[in-house]
């Protein structure tokens, strides 16, 4: 073996070793999963509502009842997902709503027992054995998603969990599976963003040039494409792009500071004032 070849092979093997190590590392660090909702494709059949209710033992809605579209509905303790109808400048649009599965969820950071929990895979789940029912998650969630069973002595928090139990088994969420119009696409969030951008790029006339959830509240697992501005289809566009847990960070960082400063200052003040007392009284008070 020539010296040059030796070096070549050496570098080559090294490169392979390095790359395998790198890809192994990428495997360990899981990417968040999510769902891309293309509201231009949704036909308002509400199959997703039915599939969701069936999968989670909730009361199954009558999906042929058109009257539900008369007013805007919100998710409830018996409906983890709802489809709403909007009349917009580009005609009728149907929008499926459920938990957004934020990258940095306000509910999970609000929870003092980690009952609301962001899994490594991305779904935000609720763990009943930990929850004490304080409902601080409901105060904190910018989308008002967690719902509480007020009429039960053993109340649960009800919300979409992105079919966590199915994902663990390697299946896809029930609503995505049930969608006949391919309006829902399940996958890694990064890839979904690429797909969403590709659709906008290919049909720039058709889409409003924004992906809801890409940046909103620091990014969400569920991403939305629309033909019209998002205010017209029931989305809040004033939530900003700061992840909600950031709002409490300043206060929480102040806690250890106060815990160090206050006792030392107080003790100092106590000694300072006591000495005068001592002089006056000729001893301890």
């Amino acid at each position: 073996m020539k010296r040059r070849d030796f070096i070549k092979t050496g570098i080559g093997t090294g490169a392979i070793l390095l790359t395998t190590r790198k890809s192994a590392r990428a495997d360990v660090k899981k990417e968040f999963l999510g769902v891309l909702v293309d509201t231009t494709r949704c036909i308002g059949c509400r199959s997703c509502e039915e599939a969701c209710a069936t999968a989670h033992g909730l009361p199954v809605p009558d999906i042929y009842d058109e009257s539900v579209f008369e007013k805007e509905r919100r998710t409830s303790e018996t409906q983890w997902t709802v489809v709403n109808r909007y009349n917009t400048e580009k005609g009728t649009v149907y929008v499926k709503r459920q938990c957004m599965h934020c990258n940095q969820p306000a509910c999970a950071s609000a929870c003092l027992v980690k009952a609301m929990f962001k899994t490594k895979e991305g779904p935000v789940i609720w763990r009943g054995s930990k929850c004490m029912g304080c409902r601080f998650c409901m105060i904190s969630c910018p989308f008002d998603i967690p719902k509480f069973e007020y009429n039960s002595p053993n109340p649960k928090i009800q919300k979409c969990i992105m079919c966590w139990e199915r994902i663990e088994k390697g299946e896809i969420p029930a609503c995505v599976e049930a969608c006949p119009a391919e309006a829902l696409l399940f996958g890694k969030r990064r890839e979904l963003l690429e797909e969403a951008k590709r659709r906008i790029y290919n049909e720039p006339e058709k889409y409003y040039h924004q992906i809801y959830g890409e940046l909103d509240v620091g990014g969400t697992g569920w991403l939305y494409l629309s033909a019209v501005p998002f205010e017209q289809i029931g989305f809040r566009t004033d939530l900003g792009i700061t992840p909600y847990p950031e709002f409490t960070k300043g206060f929480l960082y102040a806690v250890p500071v106060i815990f160090i400063l206050w006792p030392s200052i107080l003790l100092g003040l106590n000694h300072l004032t006591k000495r005068e007392e001592e002089i006056k009284m000729g001893g301890r008070r």
């Binding site: 003092l112 029912g133 409901m138 002595p153 709002f247 102040a254 107080l266």
Partner: protein, 416 residues
Amino acid sequence: MNGRISSLINEGLRLVKFIISELKPKGKIITPFNLITGIILIISAVLLVIRFAKGLGAVTNLSQDFPWGLWIGFDVITGVAFAGGAYVLTFVVYILNNEKYHPIIRATVLNGFLAYVFYAGALLLDLGRPWNVINPIIGNSFGVSSVLFLVAWHFMLYMIAEFIEFSPAVAEWLGLKRVRKILSTLTLGAVIFGITLSTLHQAGLGALFLMAKNKLHPLWYSEFIPILFFVSSIFSGLSMVIFEGSISHKVFSHDLSEEKHNEILMGLGKGCVGAMFAYLFLKILVFIHGNGWRYINSGMGYLYLVEVLGFVLVPMIMYLFAVRNRNITLIKITSFLTILGIILNRLNVTIIAFKWDAPHRYYPSWMEVMITLGVISAELWVFRWIVNRMPVMRESPEWVYEEEEKERKFIKFVRR
């Protein structure tokens, strides 16, 4: 050795007999106060059975839009603000070594302690799954990123700190000389720990709403809520001490003379002026910083003006006048006005300005109000029971002074 054990047993028997004899009510049983609070307590007890059997929806008007109502907004968040007097006064008496306020320190600490036990304890009634309340304590699941985690722990630790601060009075009541001596050495540590905890959880109650950014009206939402809550807890606590003190000074036999008591109230009023001035200054800063003018010409804007001008600026000026003219009646009236202002502020943040634009507003049900009154009644009963038995407003028993005198002589002797 045997003698020691038998004397311990004798002492134990004496304590048990003494406590049993003290459990009996003193004074008349049928009084208007007892009748009214008794009826409230019975109704509350029945309502609580319904609440735990059927769920929160059976007695409260809470909804998916308003998960927190009167029990959190008033009982817990306002009640704890009122209990602020304890940490402010322990600061003055034990840290600044100001003896002037020493005569009212025990009543104030007792009030603070009971406020936490009952009002912060009311949190348990509001929990949907109260059997899991031990989870954040036993450590199987610490949500350390949660403001509520901090608040919950601080409530618990502060109750312990306040109990230690009050415990010498319990020992004096039971006649335990040695125990009293040990407990009173713990006071300074408990006070320092207690003030630190209070600073953080008074602020923390405000910090609970930091993530309600898109729900709270912009005139009330600000990143400074924690600081505003902390500063307002100072004059809120002091005003409560004035208000409550001027009532219990009349109701219970107090060893303190009327003049000295008035002198103390006057000083507390002065303290309120300072804290209220700082608070107003911060409020104006936040208002200008948040460009509050945009919202002022609306219903919520007027409410904001009523709260800040009517219930902070006006009482501050009234306190100032009262202190300058030495008008004790005005001090008492102003303390009541300030208390109303604190109720208004805390309810604004937690309920009224929270989702102010929601189509269906939250109003407490009569049952929520009744249970709140029940919690207050229970607290008053326990307060009365303790004040009538332990040296809270009365002087400590003679032996306490003898012991202290002995100790003082001993220290002088050692120093020489």
